[in-house]
C-alpha cells in the first residue's frame, strides 16, 4: 500500500479522501469477516454468544490489542518491533516480583512501573535504529534476544505464582467497571488514544509521512530522530503495559512469559490492514485484527474443530491480507496512471 500511497501523493490533488476511502474499505473487510464468523459459530453453537464466552474473548483480545496498537505505530513508520514479546516478559516478571515484595503497592504503581520499563526498552530500540543506523528488523531481533536473556539471567528458573502476589493485583484483571472489565477498558482507552494521536495530531501525520517516504519526510523538515524514538517508545511502553495486564490476568509468571508473542502481534497488525512497508493502516484496524485472531481461536474451540488449525488459519490470513493489500495498491496505481494520461 505504501507504493499506492506514494503514487497518490504524487498524482492526486486530494490525497486525504482517497486514502481514507481505501483504508475504510480494508477495515470493512475485517468487520465483515468477523460478522460472518460470529454468525456462523453462533448458529451452530449458541453458547458462543454466552456472556462468559464473550468476556473470555474480550479479555484475551485486550492484551493483544494493547500490544498491536503500539506495533501498528512502529509498522506505519516503516519499522518493525520484534522485541515486544520479550518486553512483555521482562515487564510482567519485574512487576510481579515487585508486587510480591511490596504487597501494599497500589495497582497504579504497577501500571506505571510496567509502562516505564517498556518505555526504556523502547528508547534503546529507537536510539539504536536511528542513531546506530541499523535496520529495525536487526535491532529488535537483537533486543528480543537481549531482553529475554536479561529476564532469564535475573529470574533463572523461578516463577512468581498467583498466591504470592497481592489479591488486589489479581482482582484488577477480573473486576469490571459498569460491567466492562478493566482490561477491556484499558485496551479501548489505548486504541482511542493512540488512534486519535495518529489521526488528528501532527506527530501522527508525521509518522505516516515517514512511513510513506522516509527520504521525502526528512527533506520536508520532519524531525526523524525524535519521531522514530516516539514510535518505539510507544510500542515499548505499551508492551510493558501489556506485561502488567498479563501478570494481573494470569497471576503466575516466569521468565518465559510472552515468549513468541511478537508473531501474534505482528499478525494482528498485518491482518488489521496495516501495510508492512509503512505509510498506511489505522490503530483501530490493528485492534480489529487482534479481535479477529482471538475470535477465530474461540470459534474453533466452540465448533470442536481441531485447535491445531488455528495457527494455520492465522498464517493463511496474513498471506491473504497482504495479497489483498497488494491487489488494492496495484489497482489504484493503475487507475491513477490511466487518469493521468488523459490530462
Amino acid at each position: 500500500m505504501s507504493v499506492a500511497t506514494a503514487e497518490i501523493r504524487k498524482n492526486d490533488k486530494k490525497p486525504r479522501l482517497r486514502i481514507g476511502y481505501v483504508v475504510r474499505q480494508r477495515e470493512m473487510g475485517i468487520v465483515l469477516a468477523l460478522v460472518v464468523l460470529v454468525a456462523y459459530t453462533a448458529i451452530n453453537q449458541p453458547r458462543f454468544l454466552g456472556s462468559q464466552s464473550i468476556t473470555d474473548i474480550l479479555l484475551n483480545t485486550a492484551i493483544l490489542a494493547v500490544l498491536a496498537s503500539g506495533m501498528a505505530v512502529v509498522v506505519i513508520t516503516r519499522h518493525i518491533d520484534l522485541s515486544v514479546g520479550s518486553v512483555l516478559g521482562l515487564s510482567a516478571f519485574t512487576v510481579a516480583t515487585v508486587m510480591q515484595d511490596n504487597q501494599g503497592l497500589p495497582m497504579v504503581a504497577a501500571l506505571g512501573l510496567g509502562l516505564a520499563i517498556g518505555a526504556v526498552a523502547g528508547v534503546v530500540n529507537g536510539a539504536l535504529v536511528h542513531f546506530g543506523n541499523v535496520p529495525a528488523l536487526v535491532v529488535t531481533l537483537g533486543t528480543m534476544y537481549a531482553y529475554r536473556g536479561l529476564t532469564y539471567s535475573w529470574a533463572g528458573g523461578q516463577q512468581v505464582t498467583a498466591d504470592e502476589v497481592p489479591r488486589h493485583f489479581l482482582r484488577f484483571a477480573n473486576s469490571a467497571l459498569l460491567g466492562v472489565p478493566w482490561l477491556v477498558l484499558i485496551a479501548l482507552v489505548v486504541i482511542a488514544g493512540v488512534g486519535l494521536m495518529m489521526r488528528n495530531y501532527r506527530i501522527g501525520r508525521e509518522l505516516y509521512a515517514m512511513g510513506s517516504s522516509p527520504h521525502a519526510a526528512g527533506l520536508a523538515g520532519i524531525r526523524i530522530a525524535r519521531n522514530t524514538l516516539v514510535a518505539f517508545v510507544i510500542s515499548g511502553a505499551l508492551a510493558g503495559l501489556g506485561g502488567v495486564l498479563y501478570a494481573s490476568r494470569f497471576g503466575t509468571v516466569d521468565a518465559s512469559s510472552g515468549n513468541g508473542y511478537e508473531l501474534q502481534v505482528v499478525a494482528a497488525v498485518v491482518v488489521g490492514g496495516v501495510a508492512v512497508f509503512g505509510g498506511s493502516g489505522t490503530i483501530w484496524g490493528a485492534g480489529l485484527g487482534a479481535l479477529l485472531l482471538t475470535v477465530i481461536g474461540s470459534a474453533l474451540a466452540v465448533l470442536d474443530i481441531n485447535q491445531f488449525w488455528q495457527q494455520a488459519i492465522v498464517g493463511a490470513l496474513i498471506v491473504l491480507a497482504i495479497g489483498a493489500d497488494r491487489l488494492v495498491a496495484v489497482r489504484i496505481a493503475r487507475s491513477l496512471r490511466k487518469r493521468d494520461s488523459h490530462v
Binding site: I80, L128, G132, N133, V134, P135, L137, V138, V139, L141, G142, T143, M144, Y145, A146, Y147, R148, G149, L150, Y152, S153, G156, A255, G260, L263, V266, A267, V270, V276, F277, N306, F308, W309, Q310, Q311, A312, I313, V314, G315, A316, L317, I318, V319, I322, G323, R326
Partner: protein, 331 residues
C-alpha cells in the same frame, strides 16, 4: 593492494578472526571444550543452523529474507513422522521430504516473485501457516521409532572418532554453495540484484526467476535439515526447530551479510554460525544458563551491524575533515 586492504577491513574478515580467537581461547581456557565428545556435540548442534544459513546467505544477499525456514523444518519433520506411521520406507521418505521442502519454498517464491509481495510479510505468514500445518499433520504427538541404521548414522562419528558423519553433508553443501556464490556468474548476479535489482534486470538478469529458485533451494535445504533433525533426536514433532529462523538470521547478519543486500560472503556466515555455537557451548560448559546466553546473541547481533556503521561514520568524518583542511593549506 587496495583490494587486499579493503578485504582486511571488511566485517566478514573481522568475524573470521574473532571466531578463531574465541576458538583458541575456549580450547585453552574452558575445561572439556577441546574434548572430542564435546566437538561432536558442537557440530551436531550447529548443523541445522549452518545448513539453513547456506541458502539464507544467498537470499539476504539479494536483499530479501526467508523467515519460514524453521516452520518448513517442523512441517517436514511432522510429515516424515506421518509417512513413517503410514508404513512408507525411510528410503522413500527422505527424498520425498526434501521435495516437500522444495515445494513449500516454491510457494514462498510464487507469492514473493510472481505476485510481488514483500518477502518479510510473506514469510512471516508462511512461518505461521507451515507451523500450523505441521500441528494439523501430527498434532502434539511424537513419532520416535525410526530405524537405528539411520538415526545411528546421524548421531554417529567417522570411525568412532570425534568427527560426526553429518559434517560430510555440511562440508559438501558448503563447498557447492560457496563455489556457486563466489565463483559463478549466477553468484555474481545475486550480488547485483542485492545492490540494485533494476540495474541487474537491465543487464540481463532474470531477477524474478532467480529469486524464485533461491526460495525453492531454501525450502529444500530446510526440508533436509528437518530430516536430519528428526533422525538426530529420533523424534518427529510438529514443534521441531521452533524459533530457529531467528538464530539463522542472527548468524547470517553476524557473518557480515548486509540486511540491505549486495554484500557478504559464505565464509563470513559460516564463521558467524561457528562463533555463536562456540560461545554458547563454551559458556554452557562454564555453567552459564542457556537462556541467559540470549543476551550474548542479541548484543553480538546488534554490534555486528552497529560497529561497521560506526567505523564507516568515523572514517567518513575524518575524510571530510581532511578535505576541508586542504584548501586552507593551499591558500
Amino acid at each position: 593492494m587496495s583490494e587486499l586492504r579493503g578485504r582486511l577491513a571488511s566485517w566478514d574478515t573481522v568475524i573470521i578472526g574473532v571466531t578463531v580467537a574465541v576458538l583458541i581461547a575456549a580450547t585453552a581456557g574452558v575445561e572439556n571444550f577441546g574434548n572430542g565428545t564435546n566437538f561432536t556435540f558442537l557440530i551436531l548442534d550447529l548443523l541445522p543452523i549452518a545448513l539453513i544459513a547456506l541458502p539464507m546467505t544467498m537470499i539476504v544477499i539479494t536483499g530479501e529474507i526467508d523467515l519460514s525456514v524453521a516452520s518448513t523444518l517442523g512441517l517436514t519433520s511432522a510429515i516424515m513422522g506421518d509417512l513413517w506411521n503410514r508404513g512408507l520406507t525411510i528410503e522413500m521418505i527422505i527424498p520425498l521430504c526434501v521435495l516437500i521442502g522444495a515445494l513449500l519454498g516454491a510457494v514462498n517464491g510464487v507469492l514473493i516473485n510472481r505476485l510481488g509481495l514483500p518477502s518479510l510479510a510473506v514469510t512471516i505468514g508462511t512461518l505461521a501457516l507451515y507451523r500450523g500445518l505441521a500441528l494439523v499433520v501430527l498434532g502434539d504427538a511424537a513419532v520416535a521409532d525410526f530405524p537405528w541404521a539411520f538415526t545411528g548414522w546421524v548421531t554417529g562419528t567417522i570411525g568412532g572418532g570425534p568427527i560426526p558423519n553429518v559434517l560430510i553433508v555440511l562440508v559438501v553443501l558448503a563447498v557447492i554453495f560457496g563455489v556457486v556464490l563466489h565463483a559463478t556468474p549466477f553468484g555474481r548476479s545475486l550480488f547485483a540484484i542485492g545492490a540494485n535489482d533494476q540495474a541487474a534486470r537491465f543487464s540481463g538478469v532474470d531477477v524474478a526467476r532467480t529469486k524464485f529458485w533461491l526460495y525453492v533451494v531454501s525450502g529444500a535445504i530446510a526440508g533436509l535439515a528437518g530430516v536430519l533433525w528428526t533422525l538426530r533426536y529420533s523424534s518427529a514433532r510438529a514443534d521441531n526447530g521452533a524459533g530457529l529462523e531467528l538464530a539463522v538470521v542472527a548468524a547470517v547478519l553476524l557473518g557480515g551479510v548486509s540486511i540491505f543486500g549486495g554484500r557478504g560472503s559464505l565464509w563470513g556466515v559460516l564463521s558467524g554460525v561457528l562463533l555463536l555455537a562456540v560461545l554458547q557451548n563454551a559458556l554452557r560448559l562454564q555453567d552459564v544458563s542457556g537462556q541467559a546466553l540470549n543476551i550474548v546473541t542479541g548484543v553480538l547481533l546488534i554490534a555486528s551491524v552497529l560497529l561497521p556503521n560506526i567505523i564507516t561514520g568515523v572514517r567518513d568524518s575524518l575524510h571530510r575533515r581532511r578535505l576541508r583542511a586542504v584548501p586552507v593549506k593551499s591558500s
